[in-house]
């Protein structure tokens, strides 16, 4: 599903975020990437969503070289993935249901299908009761669950989560991790960046250890799941 071939990423300020990174993520896999701040975790995710392009090397997502995607293809490419951000990025003037429905509107879904699918997604993250509430009235954990619902409402084959527990306390963060695990059960590939080693230990999933832009270990390959 995702392949990195000798990827280098240097930002405009000469900061070397990734150095010679090669990796492969299969369909339906749950993979975690960890490392200290500035290790290059977010850069990995931003390369997959094609927010940025690698300085050198190839990034292949859904059998497509992201560097070769044309501007008109980009929206359709991104519709095949859901993204969960650390800082939520919700629309605060809309209700929870409207935030989740946005994905479906963009996909061109109309009418009752929207209501049905939004209800299903909110049910999956346990927020049905809060669907008519504006995000301001939610706790951090609840906000992150809205973001997750928005990311999975269209059942994308790939879910990217960049520090989904970064703004949450341990218990709430752990709930989030459980929800992500449930998403994999439906066949969705989950790629999750976190600096929280507790979660890494408890999840017992394949984990990439990243430091200063270099992969220092791939736990799946060392110990197996």
């Amino acid at each position: 599903m995702i392949q990195f071939h000798h990827v280098f990423m240097t930002y405009q300020n000469e900061y070397k975020a990734l150095r010679d990174v090669s990796l492969e993520i299969d369909r339906g896999e749950f993979i975690m990437v960890t490392g200290p701040s500035g290790a290059g975790k977010s850069t990995l995710i931003r390369l997959v969503t094609r927010e940025i392009l690698p300085t050198k090397g190839q990034v292949i997502v859904f059998d497509q070289n992201v560097a070769k995607l044309k501007a008109v293809q980009l929206p359709y490419f991104r519709r095949k993935m859901g993204v969960v951000f650390q800082n939520f990025r919700l629309l605060y003037d809309r209700t929870v249901a409207e935030n989740v429905a946005l994905t479906l509107h963009i996909l061109g879904t109309t009418g009752r299908t929207i209501t049905r699918e939004v209800n299903q997604a909110l049910d999956r993250v346990g927020l049905t009761r809060k669907k008519n509430v504006k995000p301001w009235h939610l706790s951090g954990g609840e906000m992150q669950r809205v973001v997750l619902a928005r990311a999975i409402v269209h059942d994308p084959p790939l879910l990217l989560a960049d520090e989904p527990t970064g703004n949450l306390d341990f218990a709430t963060g752990w709930e989030m991790m459980q929800l992500l695990k449930q998403v994999t059960e439906t066949g969705t590939t989950v790629f999750c960046a976190t600096h929280n080693l507790n979660f890494i230990q408890k999840m017992k999933k394949r984990t990439l250890f990243l430091d200063k832009g270099v992969i220092h270990g791939d736990r799946n390959k060392l110990h197996g799941n």
């Binding site: 008109v72 929206p75 991104r78 993204v83 990025r89 629309l91 946005l102 994905t103 963009i106 061109g108």
Partner: protein
């Protein structure tokens, strides 16, 4: 793409950042009002120019010894000229009667004792450009029985030239106002778009096409333009009405006489033009601003 959703989004933006919307609407109406004012002035000046042109007539004074058959031959000849609309004969007696309407001149004529006024022909020309008038006059002067030809002379000439200049000035003013209005509106819309940068970013991450992001902004721009246009038209009407009322009752000047009032059709066309201009500015302004945000 669900059109309904795009309209809902557009209306949502209208009621979201109320202050920015009010500023945008205000600037839009003010620009359009200035444009409307120029439009009104333009129509007034055009009508004034037509009025002045209509008043210009060529007066041909006949020699004292011109005989009746000579005069009628002259009239026929002039009437046959392709540029001539009408020829009126004014006899010595008629000229005197016209002259005598002024009390002061009446006394003057009494002193003189006899009628000093020559008989004349008044001629209406089709095209009253200064060149055309001059060419026609030199043709007239070579005809037999003609003593002198006048056409309001240099005054009319200067007035026509001045009107041409004023028309040009109004045209330049209109063009600059249109440009200024477009720049102001595009910048305000840029502010609106900038305020929603985060939202645009989220939508792009979820997979929204540029068309999907742009749609609500374009609809919003057109609605703002239309509302701005309607506001500008109403304001313009109210201001004109108050001005007319004030000048009539306080100064005793009838503005309608100065600037001929527009007909119902003219007024409706003008209002329609202002509203259409608003929609156009809103549309183009949104297109440019969102395009800039989307790095197109």
């Amino acid at each position: 793409m669900a059109i309904k959703f795009l309209f809902e989004e557009a209306f949502r933006s209208l009621f979201r950042s109320k202050r920015l919307n009010m500023i945008s609407l205000g600037a839009m109406s003010m620009s359009l009002m200035a444009l409307g004012l120029v439009l009104v002035l333009n129509v007034g000046i055009m009508e004034l120019a037509d009025f002045v042109e209509d008043k210009i007539e060529i007066v041909l004074f006949l020699t004292e010894d011109a005989k009746t058959d000579e005069i009628s031959m002259l009239v026929t000849k002039i009437q046959d000229h392709p540029q001539v609309i009408a020829v009126y004969y004014i006899s010595k007696q008629e000229a005197l009667e016209e002259f005598s309407q002024d009390a002061a001149l009446q006394d003057l004529i009494k002193v003189l004792g006899n009628n000093p006024l020559p008989s004349s022909l008044r001629i209406q020309l089709m095209e009253k450009t200064p060149e055309n008038v001059k060419r026609f006059i030199s043709w007239l002067k070579n005809l037999p029985g003609v003593s002198e030809v006048t056409y309001g002379g240099g005054d009319a000439d200067r007035l026509l030239k001045a009107l041409q200049f004023v028309r040009l000035a109004v045209l330049i003013l209109t063009a600059s106002l249109v440009l200024a209005a477009m720049v102001i509106i595009a910048n305000i819309i840029s502010l609106m778009v900038y305020a929603r940068e985060a939202e645009i970013d989220i939508m792009r991450m979820i997979g929204a096409t540029n068309g999907f992001i742009r749609g609500p902004f374009l609809i919003w721009g057109v609605i703002q333009g239309a509302v701005g246009g309607i506001l500008a038209t109403v304001l313009l009407y109210v201001i004109w009405y108050l001005l007319r009322y004030y000048s009539m009752h306080e100064l005793g000047i009838d503005l309608n006489a100065l600037l001929p009032p527009a007909s119902r059709d003219q007024a409706l066309t003008g209002a329609g033009l202002i509203i259409l201009a608003g929609c156009f500015f809103g549309f183009v302004g949104s297109l440019v601003s969102v395009g800039r945000q989307l790095n197109e």
